[in-house]
C-alpha cells in the first residue's frame, strides 16, 4: 500500500496530463469540424451520454480499485432492465425499480461471494455471470421487446430538472457520494489498501472478504440503476440492452486512470473518462461515421489507455 501511495503523484500527473491533452485536442477538432458541436443543445446531449456511461462505470471503478474486475456489468444491466421493465410497463413503477435493483444486487453478491469466499479469479467468476445474466434476460423476455413506459418513469432518463438532464444530476450526486466514500470512510480507504497489497490489508485485520462482497454488490446494483436510466431514456427494453456497454464501461475506468492492478485511481477519473468517451461518440456522430465503428473506437481507446499507463509505469520503475 505504501508503494502504491508513493507512486501515486507521478502516475496521477501522467494520467491528468495525457487525458487533458486528449480532451483539448478532441474539443478543438470537433469545434473546427462542426459548427453544431459547441451549441448548448449538443453539450446537453454529450453530458447526458457521459452521465449514462458514468453510472455504469462507477461501480466497476470500485471493483477495479480492489484489483478485481466485473465483466458482468453489461449483462447485469440488461437483466435488471428486463426484470424492471416487466413490472414498470404494467404501471408498478416502484416495484419494478426495486425488482431491478434487487436483481442487480443479487448478481453482484454472487460475484462477490465467488471471488471472496470461493477464491475464483474475478474475471472468470464475472465472465460466467455475464452469460448467466444474459441467458436469464433472454429467458425472461422470450425474445420480445417491452416498450411504452409511464411518463413519470421516463423522466428518469429523458427528463430535466432545473434545465439539467436528470441522468446528469444523478451522475453528479453519485460522483460526489462515491468520492466521499472512497476518501473519507474506512471502507473507501480499505479498497485502496486491498488493491495495493491484499495480503497486508488482510493482516491488518480488515474484513476484506466482506468488503469485497460489498464492492461487487454495489457494482451490480449501480449497473441495474444504469439499466433503469437507459430504458427510461429509450422507452424500451429487450434482452440485448446493455450488451455493447461492457467495453465502454471498462474503457471509461481505464481512461480515467484507475489501474487494473488495483490500488491506484479514483471515481473522478472515471467521470472524466466517461466524458471523453461521450465526446468521442458525439464526434463520430457529428462526422457521420457509422455506429458500427463505435466498438472499434472503444476497443482502440481501451488498449491505448492501458498500454500508455502500463508502459509509463514500467519506465518509472
Amino acid at each position: 500500500m505504501i508503494a502504491a501511495v508513493q507512486r501515486l503523484p507521478t502516475e496521477m500527473l501522467f494520467v491528468v496530463v495525457t487525458r487533458t491533452a486528449f480532451v483539448a485536442a478532441l474539443v478543438l477538432l470537433l469545434a473546427i469540424v462542426s459548427p453544431h458541436f459547441l451549441t448548448t443543445d449538443n453539450m446537453v446531449i454529450v453530458l447526458r451520454q457521459a452521465a449514462l456511461q458514468f453510472l455504469m462505470a462507477a461501480g466497476l471503478t470500485l471493483v477495479v480499485l480492489t484489483g478485481g474486475i466485473d465483466l458482468s456489468v453489461g449483462a447485469v444491466l440488461g437483466l435488471a432492465a428486463c426484470v424492471g421493465a416487466g413490472f414498470i410497463v404494467k404501471g408498478y413503477v416502484l416495484l419494478g425499480i426495486l425488482a431491478a435493483l434487487g436483481a442487480g444486487l443479487a448478481c453482484g453478491i454472487v460475484n462477490g461471494a465467488l471471488v471472496a469466499y470461493v477464491g475464483i479469479p474475478a474475471f472468470i467468476a464475472t465472465y460466467g455471470m455475464l452469460w448467466v445474466a444474459h441467458g436469464l434476460g433472454y429467458v425472461f423476455m422470450k425474445g420480445e421487446v417491452i416498450h411504452g413506459f409511464p411518463a413519470g418513469f421516463r423522466a428518469l432518463g429523458a427528463g430535466f430538472f432545473a434545465s439539467l438532464p436528470i441522468p446528469v444530476i444523478a451522475g453528479a450526486l453519485l460522483l460526489l457520494a462515491l468520492h466521499v466514500v472512497l476518501h473519507l470512510t474506512r471502507f473507501g480507504r480499505a479498497l485502496y489498501a486491498m488493491g495495493g497489497n491484499p495480503v497486508a490489508a488482510r493482516l491488518t485485520g480488515m474484513p476484506t472478504k466482506r468488503y469485497l462482497v460489498t464492492v461487487y454488490a454495489l457494482s451490480g446494483m449501480l449497473a441495474a440503476f444504469a439499466g433503469l436510466v437507459v430504458i427510461a431514456r429509450v422507452n424500451a427494453a429487450d434482452s440485448g440492452t446493455g450488451e455493447e456497454l461492457l467495453l465502454t464501461a471498462i474503457a471509461a475506468v481505464c481512461l480515467g486512470g484507475t489501474s487494473l492492478f488495483g490500488g491506484v485511481g479514483g471515481i473522478v477519473g472515471t467521470a472524466i473518462g466517461s466524458l471523453i468517451l461521450a465526446l468521442v461518440v458525439n464526434g463520430m456522430n457529428m462526422l457521420g461515421i457509422a455506429t458500427f465503428w463505435q466498438a472499434f473506437a472503444m476497443g482502440v481507446i481501451l488498449i491505448l489507455a492501458v498500454f500508455a499507463d502500463v508502459t509509463f509505469k514500467r519506465r518509472m520503475s
Binding site: V118, G128, G135, G299
Partner: protein
C-alpha cells in the same frame, strides 16, 4: 517444471488424470438418453460430432492460451471477421485459396496483436483480448453493414458436407488439428515452454528463453485455429455472418475448464479439452432436444462453468 514433466507422460495417463469432464459427459449423456429417445439415435450423435468440430478446434487454441495463464476473449469475434472476409472475397468471385489464405492471415494477425500486447507491453490478457474483440467485431459489422454474406460458391460447402475416406470433413479437420496440436504440445520445445510459462515464467526467463516471442506464438496459434474453424462454420451456414461465433469463446473456455485445465500453474492438457468440448456440445444438444432453447442453454452453460471453477477452487484449497 513439475507441470511440464506431467505433461510429457503418455496420453492415456493424462486422460486418466482428468476424470471430471468424463464423468460429466457420461452423466449428461445418460440423462439426455433417458429424457429423450431421439438423443441416442445415430443421426443425432452424428450431429453432435459435426457440431462440436468447430468448438473443439477453437478450444484447442484456447487451451494453449490458458495454460500460459492467459485468456482469449476475442476468438469468437475474430472467427466472425475471418468468415466475413472469406465470404466477401468469394462472393466477389475471388479464388478459394486466396480467400482461405486471407482468413488465415487475419486470424494470425489478430493473434499476434493479442500476443504482442500481452507479452511485450505487459497488459492483462483479458483487457487486451476484450479490446481486440471490440475491434474485430466492429470491423466485421462495418464490412457487411451487419448483414449476412450470401451467394458463396458451392465449393465452400465441402468444408461441412464433404466426405473423405468415409469420414466427414469437419471431423477430419478436427482430428487433424488435434493431432497437430498434440504433437506441438507434447513433442516439441514449443509445447514444453507453453507448460513452463504457466508453471514458472520467471525461471524460464532467467534460463534465457525468449518467453515473449513464444507467448506471441501461442496467441497467434489460437487465432489461426479460429480462422480454420471459420471455414467449417461458414460452410455449415452456407453464408458468412459477422456475429456467427459471438459467445463461442465462452463455450471454448467452458470446455477448457471442464477439461481440467487450470488458470494457474500450467496444469492441464488437450485430452481434457476434447472431453470438455464434447460435454458442452452434448449439453447444448440435449437441452435443445428437451425443448430448452438457446436462451436457457446460455444460462445453463454459464452455471456449469461457474460451478466447475468453484469446485476446482474449493478442491485446490482443501
Amino acid at each position: 517444471m513439475n507441470a511440464a514433466a506431467r505433461a510429457l507422460r503418455m496420453p492415456l495417463a493424462i486422460s486418466l488424470e482428468l476424470p471430471g469432464a468424463a464423468y460429466l459427459l457420461a452423466l449428461l449423456a445418460a440423462a439426455f438418453a433417458l429424457a429423450s429417445p431421439e438423443f441416442s439415435s445415430p443421426r443425432n450423435l452424428g450431429n453432435i460430432a459435426l457440431q462440436s468440430a468447430a468448438l473443439i478446434i477453437v478450444s484447442l487454441g484456447m487451451t494453449l492460451v490458458i495454460l500460459t495463464e492467459g485468456i482469449d476473449l476475442s476468438l469468437g469475434a475474430v472467427l466472425g471477421l475471418c468468415g466475413v472476409v472469406m465470404g466477401l472475397m468469394l462472393a466477389s468471385h475471388g479464388s478459394l485459396p486466396t480467400a482461405l489464405g486471407a482468413a488465415l492471415a487475419i486470424g494470425i494477425i489478430a493473434g499476434c496483436c493479442n500476443g504482442a500486447l500481452v507479452a511485450y507491453a505487459g497488459m492483462p490478457p483479458f483487457i487486451v483480448t476484450l479490446g481486440v474483440y471490440g475491434i474485430a467485431q466492429s470491423l466485421a459489422m462495418v464490412l457487411t453493414q451487419g448483414n449476412s454474406v450470401t451467394g458463396l460458391p458451392p465449393a465452400v460447402r465441402w468444408f461441412n458436407e464433404g466426405v473423405w475416406l468415409g469420414v466427414p470433413v469437419p471431423i477430419l479437420a478436427m482430428a487433424a488439428v488435434f493431432a497437430f496440436t498434440w504433437l506441438l504440445l507434447y513433442r516439441t520445445r514449443f509445447g514444453r515452454y507453453v507448460f513452463a510459462i504457466g508453471g514458472n515464467r520467471r525461471a524460464l526467463e532467467l534460463a534465457g528463453v525468449p518467453v515473449r516471442a513464444w507467448l506471441v506464438a501461442v496467441y497467434a496459434y489460437a487465432g489461426l485455429l479460429a480462422a480454420i474453424a471459420s471455414f467449417i462454420m461458414t460452410a455449415r451456414m452456407n453464408a458468412a455472418h459477422p456475429t456467427i461465433a459471438i459467445g463461442l469463446e465462452f463455450d471454448a473456455i467452458a470446455a477448457v475448464i471442464l477439461g481440467g485445465t487450470s488458470f494457474e500453474k500450467g496444469y492441464g492438457g488437450i485430452w481434457g479439452t476434447l472431453v470438455g468440448a464434447l460435454a458442452v456440445a452434448v449439453l447444448r444438444n440435449g437441452l435443445n432436444l428437451i425443448g430448452l432453447g438457446t436462451e436457457w442453454q446460455v444460462a445453463v452453460v454459464g452455471l456449469v462453468i461457474v460451478s466447475a471453477v468453484a469446485l476446482d477452487a474449493l478442491r485446490n484449497r482443501s
